[in-house]
Symmetry: C2
Subunit: 334 residues, 2 copies
């Protein structure tokens, strides 16, 4: 129980590093993700944050033997190990749009970090969230479920027949970059450079773009009865729900667990989701549960951790839910 | 090796019943699928065909203890067992279109057939085709592959990380009924009653409808340089390929194996598929193989059989490929 693990959550906006032992969280530290300089700047930033977390927890960094990393993906296998090819971090991947201040086409995470630890697990953050839901959330006793995050991007992770869906490069259940249109004229470009992807039409930034205000403001306007806000949110939710039907068709799931910042407005989006979902292809959608993640506020912390948590710890964590009493995150940008 | 198994392939047009022992096929018999009368007419027809196959092979029907059935799906669990809710057999499922001469909403396959056998395996025909590809085709040593049939309907079956994707009701990888459009105005209705499904836009009947001739004739016209045929086939192939990208995104597959009557025109469709596929979301599509099934002409016979074939037979069948020397199918309608 005294073994200390490191869990890293790499997001498009920020990186969070947590230290954990069998009893709970020892430290959590966060910083805006670095996007300028060489492509090794991200693994270097992870190591610096890890050093600071170790100082906070008064631990020698050499004690950390196992590290779980979840990132927004996608990943690719290369001759120099698993690399991250995330469109929201690697400016070199976009075909036209150029709002990321670098020309990286990949981030060499495995090459830079693996030599420093005895175990490194590296997975798409929606897949690791599904693992967290399986261990600690609503997926506990469910063989066929999907975790879907509706946030800055659209991600998903799933179990089918009790098996975690990973795929050849651990990029499985990549719902955000599935096509939901057949012609692309006049559509906004997806962060990946393509057109017609679910993410480009429904994610938080798409809602903000279609209305012309922040996503939170659009929901605020919706609550005030604004007609355009209603239309924008209904449209995004309709399209996302078609995506939820699609993943249900592909995986024949029995439960959809939703997380991500947009789902904070569950009272608004759930009735809209329900209406489209259950009237679409009833032979597969009938009886499927759709719920908001009960771990929603903690999933980032738990996801990467779930990848490396010793099986012997799980029962105790299920019982004591130490994530609810984690120390306050140290935010290095404040 | 002398144990005799029954394999049944229920299609929208015809039912085929085969008898097999460890050395190969003993009899194959086929008849147009019955669609009038009570919903028990289909299991009754299966039993009659089985009787006739047993007569042909000079076997007592009581010897048949195990039966594998593959059908176009979808299936549902009910209080009276697994039922088939196929839109191309059950007229009662269509919301508007009424071209099937019955009002069935389900076919009680398990209830009618299970009591007569010691083992009944009942699965979507594209899933059982994936099992056949895993045992005898190009899926042999591949952990992540999808089998896609492009025919009267669009079906798929898949392995992810070495596991067959079944899902809660064995309806997994239901590619045909995924949405590929966000608005449905002016679109043709899918056989299931919905709008905007891949199947309704690209399957054989969609190609025939969009041109105004049989699917085979449309390809013939394409070969003669007909402009409209070119446009119809390119459009259908483009949309199907978006579906192939989608399933690749969801399952992170490394190989797509294609079967079904439309793929007989592989020389035409493969170059079109390639063009759309590999330029779409390269982080997931790059390096994915797309091939026509080498079992294409036999997959119907092998699929249902693969569900129940004893493991001990598989090596011998891989070596001797007895499906290539099966007796000629007795067609009761000729």
């Amino acid at each position: 129980m005294d073994q200390v693990l490191a869990a890293v959550d790499i997001g498009g906006t920020k990186i969070t590093v947590s230290l954990i032992n069998g009893h709970g969280f020892l430290a959590k530290i966060r910083q805006l993700t670095r996007k300028t300089g060489e492509n090794k700047v991200v693994p270097q930033q992870i190591l610096q944050l890890l050093d600071q977390a170790c100082q906070t927890a008064r631990i020698n960094r050499k004690e950390i033997k196992e590290i779980g990393i979840s990132a927004c993906g996608p990943f690719a296998k290369t001759s120099h190990g698993f690399v991250l090819k995330a469109a929201n971090l690697c400016g070199g991947l976009a075909k036209e749009k150029k709002d990321i201040p670098n020309d990286w086409t990949e981030i060499p995470l495995e090459q830079e970090l693996k030599p420093l630890f005895s175990r490194l697990e590296l997975v798409n953050d929606a897949i690791s969230s599904a693992v967290a839901e399986k261990h600690f959330g609503s997926g506990k006793n469910v063989d066929n479920f999907v975790y879907v995050t509706w946030s800055t991007g659209i991600g998903a992770g799933a179990y089918v027949d009790g098996h975690l869906v990973e795929g050849k490069n651990k990029n499985g259940t990549h719902l955000g970059h599935t096509f939901i249109t057949t012609s692309f004229a006049g559509l906004p470009q997806c962060g990946c450079g393509d057109y017609g992807h679910v993410e480009s039409l429904v994610a938080g930034p798409a809602i903000a773009r279609d209305f012309g205000a922040s996503t939170a403001e659009v929901f605020e306007k919706y609550r005030q009865g604004d007609v355009k806000a209603k239309q924008v949110i209904e449209n995004a939710t309709h399209i996302l729900t078609l995506g939820l039907v699609n993943i249900t068709c592909i995986l024949d799931s029995e439960l959809i667990i939703m997380g991500g910042s947009v789902t904070k407005n569950w009272d608004i989006v759930y009735p809209l989701i329900k209406k489209t979902f259950y009237t679409s292809f009833p032979p597969l959608t009938q009886g499927v549960g759709i719920i908001r993640s009960e771990l929603a506020d903690y999933i980032g912390d738990l996801a990467a951790l779930s990848l490396i948590m010793p099986v012997a710890w799980i029962k105790g964590w299920q019982q004591h839910r130490p994530w609810e009493n984690a120390p306050i995150t140290i935010n290095l940008d404040e």
